[in-house]
């Protein structure tokens, strides 16, 4: 039963107040994009066993979307941050590097 702090309203939100939104930092591909790009945008997922970046909506609260960095193997939460960014902010990256030495970073977007 996760508990995440909504960065928009500051509430420590119970999982039952939240709606999960899947993998974060996906780049949208529209008309004119290649089949490869469009397929991976819509379907292909990192689905890592470990550090994961995901979208949440504070559905039963302020209604805002936000991002969370979370370990899917331990459920440790490295932090939550704004939905209006295309990749994790530095302080989140630093926290992860500190907690998961040797974590292999990928390209975003």
């Amino acid at each position: 039963m996760l508990i995440l702090q909504c960065p928009c309203c500051g509430v420590m939100a119970d999982e039952t107040e939240l709606a999960a939104g899947g993998e974060a930092h996906l780049k949208r591909f529209g008309p004119g994009s290649s089949d490869d790009d469009f397929e991976s945008y819509l379907f292909n997922r990192v689905n890592p066993k470990g550090v994961h970046f995901e979208r949440w909506r504070h559905a039963y609260g302020c209604g805002k979307w936000f991002h969370a960095a979370r370990c899917t193997a331990t459920l440790e939460v490295f932090g939550t941050y704004s939905a209006q960014v295309t990749e994790p902010p530095q302080e989140i990256r630093d926290k992860i590097s500190a907690r998961r030495p040797g974590w292999r970073w990928r390209e975003f977007g």
């Binding site: 039963m1 996760l2 508990i3 995440l4 119970d14 939104g21 949208r28 591909f29 529209g30 008309p31 004119g32 994009s33 089949d35 469009f38 819509l42 979208r55 909506r57 559905a59 209604g63 805002k64 979307w65 370990c71 331990t74 459920l75 440790e76 939460v77 939905a83 209006q84 907690r99």
Partner: protein, 1006 residues
């Protein structure tokens, strides 16, 4: 026999008698008794039958670990199977009934299984009942099902209520024994918010029973210290104490389920029966104590063989003697306490059989001093008896079971050592290590379950962490409490654990089998799991057959899968398995611990959500009127919409036909309040809607309406509705009933996560308005009669909207039609919705006003060939399939779904497309029927070329009409295709234009 003693009985109130029945027989007990202690007091040792062999079963334990004493309790709406007698507090009039026996507990047909035992070893059913095939379902399985199962199935609806409760704690202490209380005290002193939960009705745990005479805590006797500490905690504002409240499960991020039994001991009191606590704790201390292990010797399942600690509990707590002559068997010092207690109670202890060559420490001397004979290096070869122990045979522990001596007795008290209750520690991933010296699995403090911050959030304290004597328990608990308090943000205080007396006990000597070299004849009579009938020989067979993983062995033998979840059997079974595999116990490892610690009621899990509050029902402002006028309801999401308004003696179908005809010929009123209404406002609103809808919305003139389609990014049609432009930068978007919240969320998602720089605000005003569709040739007449705004075609043409007044009401009127008739959809404030509806009904009476429901709505839209989201669409249909290309802008570079619709499969000319369908004989096509083509596909299935999406009897046309998706449909007008029905008939239908009625649209545009 077992009887009530004159001395002891610290928990019972002898001054008050209570009456209860067991298998219909009246018995007596006292307040403070458990059902188990009361049964023993009435010499009822035989309480049930085992699962597989239907062997006689007696009470073994005194608490949550009891595997045998399960009863059917209560009657009617209060009936409950599998109630554990040892944790059921006695109350006046309690009705208990033994389980898993027929016709009676004493004479049970099923007990023939016990004579077939050697033919029914572990996993026998995997090896037999294979031939002939049909016999499994029809012969073998029914027999097995009948003899399996335990309690009776309840029949009546539950007569009680339940509730949940949310709370937050800095430190949650689970277990109200000495360790829990001391830990709570230490934590509370740091200023932390502390909760203490105790599953029984009493504080103190085992201490009041197990404390030795010389034991002192801070100078007091154990019981006094407990009372004093509880009083102290109760006085602290930051501490909450709960009895009869069990820590059931520990979940991620400090979430704990606690199960409070409020009325089980007082069923007639008002209020909820159980309360399920959902606790968020920063730190959790599991002070859950330890459970004594049985010893594995032949006949250890015969009624009268009990845990030594349980025997102590019954004497000291309830003044009940399990037997007159009790033989003690042990491999550690604790069982000597039992011997001493029994002796003090004036009962006979003919022998203490201690497997250890050297025997015990100070307690052994004390026992000897009381004149009890102690045989060391000895074991029980076999217990004799049927429904009750009659004698035990003694042998050398080192040998194979050669009988040296025989002792008549009616009870055996056994102690194989202690197993810390590590369930709560393990639920969320806490690791264990094997402690050879104490022969137990203990929590590995270096690998605790970790929380949201990646740090440990559970600590075990006292016996639960493996500290067995009082001094260690108190120090361990004190340290745990302090650490937890600090970790939860409390202020560290320099406090110390109370002083207590040290002990001189001899070490335990692991004994996993008695005697060590027991021959197969003995091992097949030596039980590990009393309820599921798993014996030493079964686990050894599993190992022999390659079920080497502990999980395999458990599943193959069902060891530990009974209702006690192996609280008594797991470690012993593990040891036997390890021995059979010739590997150390830690290498074998344990099975996974799963919540709950002991079973919790489904009622409590469901909480308040039953009856009227099972799920929300959403009501429009006019809901009550519909109810009063006999609406036949249809659930649509959480709403209920009138399906039709049948009159007295009228069938629902006839009502629907009437409603359609009346609307087409006179005047129909529809409560359209559930339709979604979303305000979209801002300089970029038009641009935003152009991305959301397939068609162009930014060009919609102010004052006009336009029908629009929304797709998912996959290209599939997801919602539709009419958009009205309110002013230059404000639009009002109508969605389907089911779409309101979904589309609102959809809009917010794109605005917040993709186009966050666009200047657009959205608000869901669905419930601000009651919306009524006034439909039919007389629609304008009724509005003009009510008076107010100009509703003539010139002033308010088709697909326009206007604000104004209708009669007494401020209204917004939309000239839109989903029926093909002259139609006004009128929105008024919800607080006036009912009044407005009633005004329309009254004024409309002379024009034949009648309400109509969703089915009439569906038929009328189908007659006009309008699609319905959820009928013509199913999540795999794109607008192009439905001939809606006119509503897809060719000019726009992009809209949500456009790219998806460009994929190979979406542009495939072979896609099924929307057409109208007319049966050649005028009958109604079956719902969901498929049209068949030639031959079979690669998997031997009939080839299909289309399907029915909506089908109705049209009262307007007097025949069946349908819409469907058909391969190349639009190019095959006039063709007749076949729809095989599930009724054996084949329905033939002609492909026609989907618009069946008023093709020119003359009627709606007047």
């Amino acid at each position: 026999m077992s009887t009530r003693l004159t001395g002891f009985g610290r928990l019972i109130d002898r001054s008050k008698p209570l009456r209860f029945t067991f298998d219909g027989k009246w018995m007596r007990g006292h307040p403070g008794d458990t059902l188990a202690s009361a049964l023993l007091a009435n010499d009822q040792m035989l309480v049930g039958r085992s699962f597989k062999y239907h062997r006689p079963r007696g009470i073994v334990a005194s608490g949550a670990e009891e595997p045998n004493a399960l009863v059917n309790l209560g009657k009617g709406g209060r009936f409950e199977p599998n109630q554990r007698a040892t944790t059921t507090e006695l109350f006046e009039g309690l009705r208990a009934e033994s389980q898993n026996r027929w016709p009676s507990l004493d004479f049970d047909i099923g007990s023939v299984n016990t004579y077939l035992a050697r033919f029914l070893p572990a996993g026998f059913y995997y090896k037999m009942f294979i031939h002939p095939r049909p016999f499994w379902k029809h012969v073998y399985e029914p027999f097995i099902r009948q003899s399996a199962g335990l309690g009776r199935a309840p029949k009546d609806r539950d007569g009680d209520t339940y509730e949940h409760f949310h709370t937050h704690a800095d430190v949650l202490v689970i277990g109200g024994g000495v360790a829990g209380l001391q830990a709570a005290k230490a934590a509370a002193d740091t200023g932390a918010r502390v909760f203490v939960l105790e599953q029984t009705a009493h504080w103190g745990g085992r201490a009041p029973v197990d404390a030795r005479d010389e034991d002192r805590i801070a100078g007091q006797g154990a019981a006094d210290w407990v009372a004093a500490t509880v009083a102290e905690l109760e006085a602290m504002p930051n501490v909450t104490l709960r009895l009869r409240c069990m820590g059931a499960g520990v979940y991620d991020h400090g979430y704990v389920l606690a199960y409070e039994r409020l009325r089980d001991h007082a069923p007639d009191a008002t209020g909820p029966r159980h309360r399920l606590w959902r606790i968020r704790a920063k730190q959790i201390i599991s002070a859950t104590g330890a459970i004594e292990r049985p010893l594995s010797f032949a006949g250890n399942d015969i009624p009268g063989v009990m845990l030594a600690s349980a025997v102590r509990d019954y004497v000291v707590n309830y003044a009940v003697s399990p037997g007159d002559r009790t033989v003690i068997a042990t491999n550690n010092d604790d069982a000597y306490l039992t011997a001493i207690v029994l002796k003090k109670a004036g009962l006979d202890v003919p022998r203490i059989v201690d497997a250890r060559a050297q025997g015990g420490g100070a307690l052994m001397e004390a026992a000897k001093a009381l004149g009890i004979r102690v045989d060391t290096g000895r074991a029980i070869a076999k217990v004799k008896g049927g429904k009750r122990v009659t004698k035990v045979q003694i042998c050398a522990q080192a040998g194979e079971g050669g009988v040296l001596d025989e002792i008549a007795c009616d009870a055996v008290a056994m102690s194989g050592g202690w197993s810390p209750v590590v369930h709560l520690w393990s639920h969320c991933g806490g690791k264990l290590f094997w402690d050879d010296a104490q022969a137990m699995f203990r929590p590995d403090a270096a690998h605790p379950p970790t929380g949201a911050d990646g740090q440990g959030f559970v600590t075990c304290a006292g016996a639960a962490s493996g500290a067995l004597d009082m001094a260690h328990v108190l120090e361990d608990a004190h340290a745990a409490g302090l650490a937890a308090g600090k970790a939860a943000g409390g202020k560290a205080k320099r406090t110390k654990a109370p002083e207590t007396t040290a002990r001189a006990d001899a070490p335990i000597e692991p004994v996993w089998l008695m005697p060590q070299g027991a021959k197969v004849e003995l091992r097949t009579k030596t039980w590990l799991d009393f309820q599921n009938d798993v014996k030493v020989s079964d686990v050894q067979l599993a190992a022999q057959e390659g079920f080497e993983s502990v999980e395999h062995a458990k599943r193959y033998t069902t060891l530990g899968m009974a209702t006690d979840q192996g609280k008594l059997s797991n470690i012993n079974g593990l040891a036997i398995l390890s021995d059979a595999l010739g590997q150390p116990i830690p290498q074998t490892g344990t099975t996974t611990f799963r919540p709950p610690y002991t079973p919790i009621s489904m009622g409590a899990i469901g909480g308040e959500a039953r009856g009227v509050v099972f799920q929300p029902i959403r009501r429009t402002p006019i809901h009550g009127w519909h109810e009063a006028h006999g609406a036949d309801w249809e659930p649509v999401g959480q709403w209920r919409r009138p399906y039709a308004f049948p009159r007295k003696g009228e069938s629902v179908h006839d009502a629907v036909m009437r409603e359609v005809k009346n609307t087409r010929e006179a005047l129909g009123l529809l409560d359209a309040s559930t339709l979604g209404k979303l305000i979209v406002k801002g300089p970029d609103a038009g641009k935003f809607l152009d991305m959301l809808y397939t068609n162009m919305m930014s060009t919609l003139p102010v004052g006009k309406c336009r029908y629009g389609l929304m797709c998912t990014e996959n290209g599939f049609l997801t919602d539709d509705g009419v958009v009205a432009r309110i002013d230059e930068d404000t639009f009002l978007c109508h969605t389907t009933t089911g779409g309101a919240d979904r589309i609102h969320a959809h809009m917010e998602e794109w605005l917040q996560t993709e186009w966050w720089d666009w200047k657009v605000y959205v608000a869901n005003v669905t419930e601000q308005f009651a919306q009524v569709a006034v439909v039919g040739p007389n629609a304008r007449k009724v509005l003009e009669k009510l008076g107010g705004m100009d509703v003539r075609a010139e002033a308010l043409p088709f697909m326009a909207w206007a604000d104004g007044r209708i009669g007494d009401f401020d209204a917004r009127v939309y000239r839109i039609s989903f029926s093909g008739e002259l139609s006004y959809e009128i929105a008024v404030r919800a607080s006036q919705g009912l009044a407005f509806w009633e005004a329309l009904m009254e004024a409309g009476a002379e024009f034949g006003a009648m309400p109509y429901g969703t089915e009439a709505l569906h038929i009328m839209r189908a007659e006009k060939g309008f699609i319905m989201i959820g009928d013509e669409t199913d999540g795999t249909v794109i607008p192009q399939d439905l001939g809606l290309d006119w509503a897809i802008s060719k000019k726009k570079a992009d809209y949500i779904g456009k790219r998806g619709q460009e994929r190979a499969h979406m542009t495939d000319p072979g896609r099924w497309k929307l057409v109208g369908l007319e049966t050649v004989d005028g009958s109604v096509l079956p719902d969901g029927a498929y049209a068949v083509g030639e031959g079979l596909n690669a998997n031997g299935q009939r080839v299909t070329i289309g399907r029915v999406t909506s089908t109705y009897f049209s009262p307007t046309l007097g025949r069946g009409i349908a819409m469907g998706l058909v391969k190349h449909g639009p190019d095959r007008m006039g063709e007749v295709i076949d729809f095989p029905g599930t009724d054996g008939k084949t329905y033939r239908a002609k492909i026609v234009d989907p618009v069946f009625h008023d093709k020119e649209g003359a009627k709606q545009n007047v």
